[in-house]
Symmetry: C2
């Protein structure tokens, strides 16, 4: 074995599923060739062109933010301010705020401006060792605007791995009837997205204020026919059986899940659907209903943690902070949080080539100035990243 | 008027008490000479040696973090992890955790190591435009260890203005009786701290698990006799009348205040005592009892917002995030949050030379890449600082 580069004198949290917990290797090393890990484990002699001495630092896989709405125009700071002064949702909507306000701004924006704004947001994630980011459309709600956003998402792949998701079923555009939009999604947009490989999966928002389960079902059926995996914003504000619906379509993930029942959790376990927990939205909306973490544990549902980065309900730009919020609010353990932004986040994207330090995986690393992995969850608003290694290959 | 440096083409949030709200000047400038602001207001012609074009960015006063426990050894990440796995407080205390664990580590640490650790934490605050930091002792709980921590605090003044506070009444050292420690504080430590100018004020923790009001009173009386202003951790977990006690001694601030009654708020208003709100501890401890913000508004109590940076109950290293948490959890308005980390935070430290952009104030500036001040409160885990100006003079 000959490596291009080795990272020596490191402590590893490999997240290797063959090892217990975080897959810790105390006196470890990582060897890389052609952008892939060729060895990760106990220190041994490997010839290499370049040696990086980690001086006892910890290495984790590069972090994965598996649920973001990174591409949008405008922000909602003025709306945030108005709400703190007592403005109600209706008043804000009348003043052009809310999701339709973001839709209008996003439709009007040029692709290059959307890209520039997204790059700035992405820089905050990347600065914390994030190497893989899921990016959803969903603020266009028209064929032209949705495709534009998905193209922008793809273009972000010059600084991190991007998984793009077509969130056409995020809301209803004001210019047509609901049934017409569902038909447009199924008969025109999904086929186009699939044919042009604009997205890796589709996503919907199943909620009283968004799509009903009866509207999501044909959308998911069309996606499945066109070879696209599905994801779902499920049971965030009420229990419409979203988790079970997602599981029925073999969803990669169901996300939010505050109101999911134990039956829903069991269905997810059977389908292998990952539970993506989004504590930033829970915090921002001041929710009280906790996701059924015990049921997920009991049934063996893998849990991921993500920022839900979006301009309205979760303007959260830090995956480290998402972990802290998941621990503090949802009582996830440190181990659950760290698996939730690595191996389990990868599973939520249908990927096994990232989120682990094992031979064959991409050489995406985060090298940390910490004494123990718990520090990544414990501190609030502190970034101990020493170096991020992202292998474009 | 001739300036050494002018900052032109800027939008100002001056926090000038003579102006309403944030004291906004849309087409503004700041002029500096000898480390002081000599003019801040509408753009006009001022000769200067150096011109900084702010390109339309916003300038606020450099931010002030008016309640931190920045100097300590060790951290409590392992304890955080154990608690998420279900360990109780007693179990953690037996394993050497809790405040006494921090005390032991702090006593054992060399001053230079305490300083290096504090510098690293401070760098996170400074990166967000903080130019003035209050630093408490309180993890020494012996004359030698408390003085060591106060010396370390003073030594941090090479990168920000430091206000140091002698928090001798933080807890009781295990090696002596309570009454003996109170006597030691009053008869030996306060006189020493005052004589050697080791602190600008004293502070105590008035709570069922810490000092009783009857123990705080002689401590405050001794401080007052020696010319030191007082501050108090008050009414955080229960209402022991801490706010009223602080007001009785003309305290600069009472801090936490979740359980403060309206009478306590009224007493604070009469005494001019600032209410320092600490949403990071509220978040970390998953508290439900909200501080009486309406009563503070009604009685005209000035509110400040701070990180409470400490290793146990608030490992929060971001003052921007403290503002977001104050808005989201406590429903402070954007204006209240921003005054709370500038002019009102200065008042909590007994200072009027920082926290405002007015002639005569120190030229401590934060220059921001934002469109409106609300963005500083709205975003979670995002730092839009363009440049920090800290004038050591």
């Amino acid at each position: 074995m000959r490596a291009e580069r080795i990272f020596t004198n490191a402590r590893l949290a490999t997240m290797d599923p063959a090892l217990p917990g975080l897959g810790v290797v105390e006196r470890g090393m990582v060897a890389e060739a052609a952008g892939r890990i060729i060895y990760a484990g106990a220190a041994r002699a490997i010839e290499a062109d370049e040696i990086v001495d980690c001086e006892g630092r910890w290495i984790t896989p590069g972090l994965i933010d598996c649920h973001t709405h990174l591409v949008y125009a405008g922000d909602r700071a003025a709306e945030f301010e108005a709400r703190l002064q007592g403005a109600g949702y209706e008043e804000i909507a009348r003043a052009g705020g809310g999701i339709l306000g973001t839709m209008r701004a996003t439709r009007a924006a040029r692709a290059e401006d959307l890209r520039a704004a997204a790059k700035r947001r992405m820089a905050a994630l990347v600065a914390e060792g994030v190497t893989t980011i899921e990016v959803k459309s969903g603020y266009g709600l028209s064929p032209e605007a949705e495709y534009k956003c998905l193209e922008v998402a793809k273009s972000l792949g010059d600084a991190a791995d991007i998984s793009s998701t077509f969130l056409g079923a995020h809301g209803f555009p004001p210019e047509m009837a609901r049934a017409d939009y569902v038909r447009l999604l199924c008969e025109e947009m999904i086929p186009h997205v699939a044919a042009h490989k604009l997205a890796d999966a589709v996503d919907g928002f199943c909620e009283g204020i968004a799509f009903s389960p009866e509207e999501i079902a044909p959308f998911f059926a069309a996606a499945t026919r066109h070879g696209l995996r599905v994801k779902l914003h499920a049971d965030q504000l009420s229990n419409l059986g979203g988790a079970a619906l997602a599981a029925k379509f073999g969803a990669l993930s169901a996300d939010h899940l505050e109101y999911t029942s134990e039956d829903g959790a069991a269905a997810m376990a059977r389908a292998g659907t990952v539970a993506v927990l989004l504590p930033g939205a829970f915090f921002t909306l001041r929710e009280k209903q906790l996701p059924p973490v015990e049921a997920f544990r009991k049934h063996g549902v893998r849990m991921a943690v993500s920022t839900d980065l979006n301009p309205g309900t979760s303007p959260l730009f830090s995956l480290l902070l998402a972990m802290n919020m998941a621990a503090t609010q949802f009582r996830l353990t440190v181990e659950e949080c760290l698996l939730g932004v690595t191996r389990h986040a990868a599973a939520a994207l249908g990927r096994s080539d990232v989120g682990v330090l094992t031979a064959g995986a991409k050489c995406h690393l985060a090298i940390w100035d910490i004494e123990r992995p718990a520090e990544l969850v414990y501190r609030i608003g502190f970034n101990p990243l020493h170096q991020r290694i992202w292998s474009a290959a």
